[in-house]
Amino acid sequence: MSASDPRATRDTALAEIETAASDDALEQVRLTYLGRKGIVPLALRSVASLAPDERRAAGQAWNEVRRELEESVEARRVALSDGGTAATATFDPTLPGRRPRLGYPHVLKRTLEDLVSIFRDLGFSVADGPEVETPQYNFTALNIPEDHPTRDDHDSFFLDPGLLLRTQMSPVQIRVMERMRPPVRVVSPGRVYRRDAFDASHSPFFFQMEGLYVDRDVTLGDLKGTLRIFVDRFFGESLRMRFRGSYFPFTEPSLELDISCTVCGGSGCAVCKHSGWVEILGCGMVHPNVLRGVGYDPDEVSGWAFGMGPDRIAMLRHRIPDIRHLYENDVRFLRQFARTR
């Protein structure tokens, strides 16, 4: 191949570089023009044999060509590695992204976290206790009479020797009060067990969260005010609340708290059994016998307690119709409530 004309050589070479379809093809083009025995180096070497007045111009011209071709080859190499130029593109940006796996909590645990965090903001800490309890902690210390039905085999799970699975989170309250002096301000979330048949709204195992506040001058007014904050923050501020009298052995007075139905807003639907209200927790002023039992003087300190069912609350919040979904762990169910925080 004649190399007499730098301009022609450059045009031909640039065209070949631009149409090189692969790294190998490009390398072939590079060797042809820029290799040790390529056209451009040979031409440069032959410059020496030219007339002295031509040498300088020819040398400059070929050096310019070499520089230009080297740049083009490099540019083409980058273009090829990026997937080719528009003319030869195979890049499809609509292919699906490689999605990293997302980790997230179970809807029930997240409900618990949300409940706990509200009370943490109000100065409560989280208390812990055993699931396998003694009748003393699960019943006696809670002012539950010796002949109360919940003590028999029919309602509670027993294991030897003389132990049982806690039926409520209240034994944790007793254990906390035994460990510290007032002020006591704790919530205790955890698993509880009762001999209820497994159906859409009952399970022999479920979660509970209880709260306890004992100090001087703690009144029913504090309980109402605190639960108002809780309902506003957890369910939203538009809901109506209704306290009504009730009965629990470990509180006196005992109350239950209803909120206006989160589904129908109070006009009546299947969720609230057409009453417009849904019950969300039981509460009351800690019974003096309970305080005496842990060595507190009920004439000195008073306190309130509440207990709620996170299973039920999660079901209400997310409109989950069947409690069994919570313990089945079908990933298609879990994914519906994916939220990392």
């Binding site: 645990k109 100065g123 989280v126 208390a127 055993p130 002949d147 005010g225 605190t226 009298g245």
Partner: protein, 801 residues
Amino acid sequence: MRIPLSWLEELAPLGDPTELAERLTAAGLECAVEPAPRIPAGVVTGRIVACERHPNADKLSVCTVDVGDGTPRTIVCGAPNATSGPVAAAALPGANLGDFVIAERKLRGVMSQGMLCSETELGLSEDHSGIILLPEDTPVGMPLAEALGLEATLVTEPTSNRGDLMSVLGVAREVAAVRGRRFTPPAPDVPADPGAGPWNIEIEDGTDCPRYGGRVIEGLRWAPSPPWMARRLQAAGIRSISNLVDVTNYVLLEHGHPLHAFDLDRLHGTRIGVRRARPGEKLTTLDDKERETTPDVLLITDESGPVAAGGVMGGASTRVSESTTRLFLEGASFAGPRVRAGSRALHLTTDASLRFERGVDAAGVPAALDRAVELLLATNPGARLVHSVDLHPIPRRPAPVALRRSTLRRILGVDPDPAEVRDILDRLGFERTADSEDRFEVVPPSFRRDVTAEEDLVEEVGRIWGYDRIPDRTCAVAGVSRLVEPRVVAESRARHLAISLGLVEVVTPGLVDSRRELEIGGGGTFFGPAISLRNPMSQDRDALRGSLLPSLLSVLETNVHRGSRDLALFEVGRVYRHTGQAVEETLRASILLAGHGAPGADALGGKSFDFFDMKGFVEVYVEEFWGLPATFAERAEGPFESVAAEGGPVLEVRVPGDPDRVIGHFGAIGSALRKRCDLPEDLPVFVAELDLAAGAPRDEVREFRELPRYPAANRDLALVVAKTVRQSDVGATIVAAGGELLEECRLFDVWEGAPLADTERSLAFTIAFRAPDRSLVSEEVERHMQEIVARVGREHDARIR
């Protein structure tokens, strides 16, 4: 309990019923007004004047029904209780029963001009045992709703401590209290006490039966109840049977006292005993079932033996019937726990037993009996009260209870006007015995055995005064809690660590199938055994778990069978183990990886989980949780075998510093388990379980360390070693030989194949050297590299590739 509003209104003015229900509910008696059931137009009363067997069907009868319009209808009926004489509920053509419209049609060849209805067909109850039959004197052609006296009712659900609210009188007292009125129950109008005559009551143990009373009445005649009583019972949900039976039910509702009527002609002698059953004694109860007794059962006896199970159900032998003319009417107070035990032992729960369990006021026994006598005499012309007995071995005088005004203020956070407090106590039937502006002393009424202490009076005042009147107050910030629970902290960290690794949380029941647990765990120390429950509800949940893995494998099974194969799951939860007489509860984490690592990425060459994915999870988890790198050891045998088998090796996890303590295991699940869970052969499944109680989690507060100022010198080293040489051993040699300046040694490539021999592989490491105070010169680095090459050559027969 269901109370017809008209009944209640007779005793206490109600005002607006819906608003009343709200007030009662707020005061602690949960209740709602239920409107009268609606009966479709075209359903009327009709007398069955004739009832004959259907010519073509054994179970059908052909009735001639008079609906008062002069044209008797022929109606085919399938109910077993269809008979000529009584008045029935007849739905005539055109009546719309919701599911269908009545029309004339042929039934087995006979034209039927309507339908005789059961309660179910009219939506009144679940009772479909037969058609509705009304007393014979019921007018015909009357709309059924009118004939049944259907009306709105108050449906109440009293709490378990308020046995007194299981009666119309009790609810009426509560109504009066919330309406600001006093309540005085009407006094029955009865003849003077005729005395006990020959009657003698013997109570074995007064704690089982604090009071037993009786009335003997003669000159009775079995007849339908008067319509007003029948309707009232019907509206309250009780079927009217006859005057003699209905009276006991009526008083049961009105006073809350279960009474029992014995046919006096079937009772032997005049000595009534109340005692525990003796071994082997049997009793045939009113439902005609012969029942075995136990010493838990309280029996009522006559001179021949047991005639009733006290507080539960009467006996069949002394049953009141159409021939009854004389009654022994029993009114007693049986102890709640005794009745509950008896009811359990007999496997029999009745309206009476439920009331006794909540507590029936012994002091109210005479009034209930008197009321029954009053009603019987009023509805049976010629009847007479002959004898009256009452044995009350343990009378109870309630003790006075004091309420301080300061306590009200301290507990409720309000200070009600003393006059208002007194009024509330009066309205509820408390007898005031001493009084001042700051202290109220009262004796609770006998029917309020739930009130024994000051706090009970606080509740009484609070609920009637109105909880909604107590102003909200937000607790003072001064009392911030200082409690920190290590296990709560550990659980939260463990969960959020797993979540940050991209794992999805599951929550499984703590109750498991002990057989399955044993199969999977093999009974070893780490994986079991489960703790058995003494009274499980079912065999598949008969124990507390000893390991999280069986539950996690159940979740895998459920999901795979429903088509979800790509899983990366974890659970943080407790496992349970006996330690002597106690049970230890420890926190563990379990991880399960199955199928593809990145679901949906198959198109881009996604890859299935393998052994080293799981190992990586465990390594990071251990390092992040405890702040220490894990070490691993292979298990040759042990409880994990059934999980692993040929799926790959099983590794024990240990933390440095306590080399004897195994804190976890991981591996692939084996073929036996795969078969039992019916998992596809090609699905990779790896599980891990870590004991989070094995040590304290790493401290959260970390100290700053200076960032390196001088560059590292990096060298790559590819070594050829025999395949039997472990990477970890080579790496350890490199670190040991590299000197103080070696910062990091990391494996970056493993390669096998030509030109290496079949027995060889290449391990490529990248090694970083760094000095804290200078840039390293290459001579220094080369010297260390030479030492490394020499040592791995000596110790592992390694050569540079």
